[in-house]
Symmetry: C2
Subunit: 158 residues, 2 copies
């Protein structure tokens, strides 16, 4: 009684069509690759995603409280604490109490922090290029514009 071998096995590395067409899957996959590239590249510089976000905010807006930093970098207050601890341990930022409001800490970017930020900014440029390698310049701008609208739609809702 010979058994009929029905080979219904998926060919390896074949993504189900149910998935590979959905935007949320594509965005998620693209973000995954971007995150992986960024993590590796930043790890080589002794940093991680949160660090860059915070340093960039400090460089652009100047000294700020932790709560404010958390709001404009979209990082939870509790996670801001941990990230700033790490940055402070490396001398990249300084934490000093606000004399005008003793609940707040004033976070200041140190010169070393500014240097480190420049370093990370250069790395980030390479990361963009690696991530969007197959896209031409106008295509990259197109993608950026479309994504910006999507993100704006979901962040603008108080």
């Amino acid at each position: 009684m010979p058994t009929v071998r029905l080979r219904a096995m998926p060919v390896d590395d074949t993504t189900p069509t149910r998935l590979k067409g959905t935007p949320s899957w594509l965005i998620g996959q693209a973000a995954m690759h971007g995150h992986r590239i960024l993590t590796e590249r930043f790890a080589a510089a002794g940093a991680r995603g949160y660090h860059y976000r915070l340093l960039a905010a400090l460089q652009e807006f100047g000294p700020a409280s932790q709560a404010t930093l958390g709001r404009c970098t979209a990082i939870d207050r509790s996670d801001v604490v941990a990230a700033l601890n790490e940055l402070a341990a490396k001398g990249l930022i300084e934490r000093s109490p606000d004399p005008d409001d003793r609940r707040r800490n004033i976070i200041t970017l140190t010169p070393a922090g500014a240097d480190h930020l420049d370093h990370l900014t250069a790395a980030l440029a390479e990361i963009q290029d690696a991530l969007l390698a197959p896209l031409s310049a106008p295509e990259r701008e197109q993608l950026t514009h479309l994504l910006a609208r999507v993100v704006a739609h979901h962040t603008t809702r108080p």
Copy 2:
């Protein structure tokens, strides 16, 4: 001696321009919102991302081993184990030893699993719509196409 109040404080919810222009940030933020919507919507159906991926693969390709499932859904073998445990506990899949290769398990989609997949597929369609709400139909296709090229570039490298 009046103190000059230098207001260098960031306006809340203002994203640093260093970030809001970079594609990796935008992709990451878009993915975050998409992931949040998907997680909430799927949680209401008692599922999570991994479950849909696995069920979809099983529905499209038929019964398969865990390693194969992991490869074509981009889920680590060890995570496949946990996710399949959860699916099996709900009777959505069945795990049986492969008689031809006793290292393998053959994972089969049960009728209940197929029903659940249909339910999740409907939910996923709503998720796409919620995520890409501000975009027109041709714009969504444009975005999908651009992302597909980016993802393909990073997944195609043996």
